[in-house]
Symmetry: C2
Subunit: 336 residues, 2 copies
């Protein structure tokens, strides 16, 4: 008895800020299971600003084509399995996109350890603080920036899951943490709920570089860069000699038709800086240990996370498009 | 009997391309020697495009002030010594600027090893291929970019001493080397005299990024960056996954009133690039060994260098200003 299901596809390549009309839902019948396959019903899917980049250009992942299912992470339950590695009822995480159900050989599907994903840790943390977002923060600070206790760390997009996790990990490591976020609500959340030492509202400072300099009088040892552009420029002008910039994303570039980049690259020579780009998949072999360590910090009450959950598969495109203008806090998720 | 001597100072902070009238000569009497001091008569001084940056802004070195002696490297002979480390007749190199003579405690003054500086190696190589320029190339490739045999290397300012030395060292290491230089004379020199595999004339390619891509079909492993700006952008678009960019200078920025920087920084994430700025002084403890190794390559005929020597201390400002427009090859030096 085949399952009839839905997925969201791209019907039009977005120009500038994406619109809900750039997406359309497709109704499909899943194939019957073959030997080695599983069928999964998703419970949560993620909407990720970083996906914007793939919608209109080639990036480290191949460019999305009209008709292709939109990228996203998902937490789901195995409904039936013809694969030894999975049983019906298992919770699994995947990167199979905005689908209600999917059939898979199990490749790229990760069984979630019930010892990790039990209260107070939500199932959906597998695609947030204990998924790619949180692990990007973890490996970026630890393995790319080689963060040391007592250093000064600047974190952009501090209210997003990556930035929020990065700043809290830096605090746990005994660092001074300065955040940058958009708007007073986010800044208040970053300081009061996440424990950053300070958070600069990038909308409130015409001279962001000056505000960063005033907040980091002895200079920045590590900048965790999600956004690039003007924020990266502000950071460059306050880096310490020998400072490190872990580059996890350049979100401010993704809606531009012409790239802006950064202006103050002469600082790279003058301050002997290291900028290093990375994607979390480079650290795949360390995922389980990292999830255990970050999960332990959550259980100990040293690290918190926030999820913005919207009910209804039909709302995925609206939620995605709102990422570029809204002030929602934390990880944005659709609950199915 | 005091020595009356001359030095060149800054009389006006340059705007845009420097003019000879930004400089003036001062006549001074040297003090008598105190215990521990030496007096040196310079034979060669260098004029360096990189100094431009210090003339109008703060950089890794403090900004030059009007009245200050212009930075430059020098090779000279010790005339008299009250310092155990030096004898009259010793050849020494220094970074004491555009002076005919100077008195020094010996700090920052390096005795030149006669075993290294003997034919076919010129005395003036101590402030060129075997000085800061050549060593910048050596340490940038070896210790910053961690160049491996067989890789593809892109070198900007390929006809300058730093670029010329970098490309030749990369060839000695068994790499494929693509240069970028300005004008057909320089490009011909880079390929025919220096042995680069190819050299792109940046004036002849409206689409430099396309020309670089066509010359590096399998991508660039290492870009040795002297210039920043548009050339850096062209390189970013052709880097291999995991490529390294050793940033020794951003010369294209030094005459700009507003910085340009690089536009294509999203490639840093997507291609997992590492950009690292450095100055050669970070590797001071390795200087003697490096000079011996590079000197050996010169004696073996595997590495060549070219000096553009102008006679007459009075011509230093003109020669400096011409760096930003001329097509002189190799290291620009004044012989006193």
């Amino acid at each position: 008895m085949p399952i009839t299901t839905e997925h969201w596809t791209l019907c039009r390549i977005p120009v500038g800020i994406p619109q809900p009309a750039d997406f359309e839902v497709e109704v499909v019948d899943l194939p019957d299971l073959s030997e080695g396959e599983i069928v999964v019903a998703n419970r949560f899917i993620s909407v990720d600003a970083g996906v914007r980049d793939r919608l209109s250009r080639d990036s480290y992942a191949r460019r999305a084509e009209p008709g292709e299912v939109i990228d996203g992470f998902a937490v789901g339950e195995v409904l039936a399995s013809l694969n030894d590695q999975f049983q019906a009822g298992d919770l699994v995480s995947s990167a199979n996109g905005w689908r209600r159900h999917y059939v898979s050989t199990g490749r790229g599907v990760m069984r979630m350890d019930p010892a990790v994903f039990s209260p107070p840790i939500s199932e959906s943390a597998a695609i947030g603080v204990l998924g790619v977002s949180g692990l990007t923060a973890y490996f970026g600070l630890r393995d790319v920036a080689i963060l040391q206790p007592g250093e000064t760390v600047l974190v952009s997009s501090a209210a997003g899951t990556v930035g929020a996790t990065a700043g809290q990990i830096a605090r746990i490591m005994g660092c001074r943490v300065v955040g940058i976020a958009g708007g007073p609500v986010r800044c208040q959340y970053v300081v009061e709920q996440l424990g950053f030492d300070i958070c600069l509202d990038r909308h409130a400072h015409e001279n962001l570089a000056g505000a960063v300099a005033d907040s980091c009088l002895d200079g920045i040892d590590v900048y965790f860069d999600n956004v690039g552009g003007e924020v990266l420029d502000a950071a460059l002008l306050s880096m310490k000699q020998g400072g490190r910039i872990a580059v996890a994303g350049q979100v401010s570039e993704y809606n531009r038709e012409e790239p802006r980049g950064a202006r103050h690259l002469r600082e790279v020579v003058e301050r002997r800086l290291r900028l290093e780009g990375f994607v979390v998949w480079d650290f795949l072999s360390g995922f389980r240990d990292a999830m255990t360590e970050v999960g332990g910090w959550i259980r100990d009450g040293r690290l918190t996370y926030y999820e913005h959950v919207v009910d209804g598969f039909e709302h995925a495109p609206e939620l995605f498009c709102s990422l570029f203008s809204s002030s929602a806090l934390g990880r944005s998720l659709i609950r199915l």
